[in-house]
Symmetry: C2
Subunit: 251 residues, 2 copies
DNA sequence: GCGGCCAGGTTGGCTGTACAACTTGACGCG
DNA sequence: CGCGTCAAGTTGTACAGCCAACCTGGCCGC
C-alpha cells in the first residue's frame, strides 16, 4: 500500500513501483504480471488507477497488454524519464558519465523564414543562436546549434559559458519543456564541426533536430545536434497501442 | 454523432474524427480544441471516452493538455499509423512512392548467442536470415538484414523473391506485429552494402535495428536496416506525459 | 491606470459499475 | 489420442459522478 503525499499522482507512484519490481526481476522476463484486480487490491486503489499506471509501462514497452490474458513482461531495461531525454546533462549523469559543455558562439539576429516557422515567430522578430560543444568525460561528442526566441535567448546568453547544463537554469527561470519533436538522420561535418569534434570535414555525423514546446504549446527551442558516430544511439519503442516513431523521406 | 459498428472502438473513431478536423485546420494551428464536455455532447459519448481519444492525439504530439485550460493544437502534420511504421511497403505507399524489394540471400543456420538473446531462443535452435535490398521508384535506398525464428522463416523463405512486401503475407499467415523496439545510429557500408546500394565501401549509412514482438510478447523478427543517407529520416514525438524516445551510449 | 481578488471554466485524478471480447485450461466426447 | 465445447479468468470499452488543481478574464479597490 502506497501513501498519497499529494506531490505525485497515485498512478505514477504505482507505475514506479511496478517498474522497480520489473527491473528487479520480480516477475521474470517473459513472466506475467498479476491481474489488474489483484494489483488494485494490493495497492489499495481502484482498477482505473491501476490501468493508468499500466498504460505508462505499456508506452515504455515494458509490458504487453492483450484482452483475455494477463500482461507479459517484455524486458527489464531501465527506461529514461522525459527529463533525461530532454537534457543531455541529466541523461549523461543518469548513466554515470561526466557531461561537460562549452559555449562557442552566441549570435542575435532577426529570424530567417525557417526559424520563424519552427518557432512560430512574426517577421522581424529576433532569435538567439547558441553554438555549443558538449563532452562526455572531457571528450567532445556533440555539437549543438540551438535557436531560441528572444525572451529565452536572453536567459541563455546570461549563463556562464562553461555551464554544464542550460536546461536546469532555464527551468529555474520557469521555462518548462513538455513536448519535443525529434528528427534523426545523417549529415556531414562542416568546418566548424570538424574543428570542434576533432574529425575531418565531410565526415558523417548522426544528426538530431529537435523542436521543443512549453506547456502552453509555444515553441521554446529549435536545435540541431550533431553526434560523432559511435558515441550515442537513439532508441524508440512503439506499439500498436501508441505510435510515436515515424519514418520520413528527406526533403 | 458517430455510429458504433462494433469493429472499432468508439474512442478510436472519435480520435480519427478529431485528427481529421485538426489536419483540415478546423481549429487552426495553435488554436484551441472544444472542451471535453462539449466534445462529449457533440459526439454523444461520455467524457471518459473523449479523454481516451484525446490521449491518443496527445501521444502523437498533435495537441497539448494542461490542467485548467483547453487543449491547444500543436501541429497539423499527418501522423503515421503503426502499420505504416512497421512496414516499409505500406510506409512508402502512404507517401505516394513506389516501393520495391528483392531478396538477395536466404540462409538457415543455428542461432548465434546474440540472436538467441534477441529472439529468446534456446541453444541449438535454428534461425532464418534474409538479406534484401529495398527500393523507392526502382532506386535502391536500403539494405535489410532480417533474422527470423524458424517457424516464421519458413513462411518468409517460401515467398516470391521479388515480392514487394513481406509484412503483408506474414500477416495473412497470422503473424502479427504489435511492439517494436528501434535503435537508430550510424554505421559504415560493407562490401555487400556497397554493391547493393551503389555506394563505396566504408560510406556512412543510417542504421535502424529493430526487434519486433507479437501479441503474446514473443519476438518474431530482429532486423538491421541500413539506409543511404539523404533518403529517409526518423521522427519521434515525446512528451512529459509519455516517454518513448531515449538516447543510448554505443557499447 | 494598475494590481489583487474572485468566480467560472477546464482538465487531472480517482472511484465504482457493468458488460463485451478474448484467452486459457479443463473436461468430456468420439 | 485428438478434438471441440465450455467455464472461469482477464483485459478492453464505456458510462456516471465527484472533487482538486489550475487558468483566465473580469471586477473592484486603490
Amino acid at each position: 500500500m502506497i501513501v498519497a503525499d499529494g506531490r505525485q499522482a497515485m498512478y505514477r507512484k504505482v507505475a514506479a513501483e511496478l517498474r522497480q519490481g520489473i527491473s528487479d526481476g520480480a516477475y521474470g522476463s517473459g513472466g506475467r504480471l498479476p491481474a489488474e484486480a489483484a494489483l488494485a487490491e494490493a495497492y489499495g486503489v481502484s482498477r482505473g488507477t491501476i490501468r493508468q499506471a499500466l498504460a505508462l509501462l505499456r508506452a515504455d514497452g515494458l509490458v504487453t497488454s492483450r484482452r483475455g490474458t494477463r500482461r507479459v513482461v517484455l524486458g527489464t531495461a531501465r527506461v529514461q524519464t522525459f527529463s533525461e531525454t530532454v537534457s543531455f546533462t541529466r541523461w549523461a549523469r543518469s548513466l554515470g558519465e561526466e557531461p561537460g559543455g562549452r559555449v562557442v558562439d552566441v549570435v542575435r539576429r532577426p529570424a530567417d523564414p525557417v526559424e520563424r516557422e519552427k518557432l512560430r515567430l512574426a517577421e522581424g522578430e529576433e532569435v538567439c543562436l547558441v553554438l555549443r560543444v558538449r563532452t562526455l568525460s572531457a571528450v567532445p561528442v556533440m555539437v549543438e546549434r540551438s535557436v531560441y526566441p528572444r525572451h529565452i535567448g536572453e536567459i541563455v546568453a546570461g549563463l556562464d559559458p562553461a555551464a554544464v547544463s542550460h536546461t536546469v537554469p532555464l527551468e529555474e527561470h520557469g521555462v518548462r519543456f513538455t513536448d519535443v519533436h525529434h528528427t534523426i538522420d545523417v549529415t556531414y561535418a562542416d568546418a566548424d564541426d570538424a574543428a570542434l569534434l576533432g574529425c575531418r570535414a565531410g565526415a558523417a555525423l548522426l544528426r538530431e533536430r529537435r523542436c521543443s514546446t512549453d506547456p502552453t504549446g509555444s515553441p521554446v527551442e529549435w536545435s540541431e545536434d550533431r553526434y560523432l558516430p559511435g558515441t550515442v544511439a537513439f532508441t524508440v519503442h512503439n506499439s500498436s497501442a501508441a505510435t510515436a516513431l515515424s519514418r520520413r523521406t528527406t526533403t
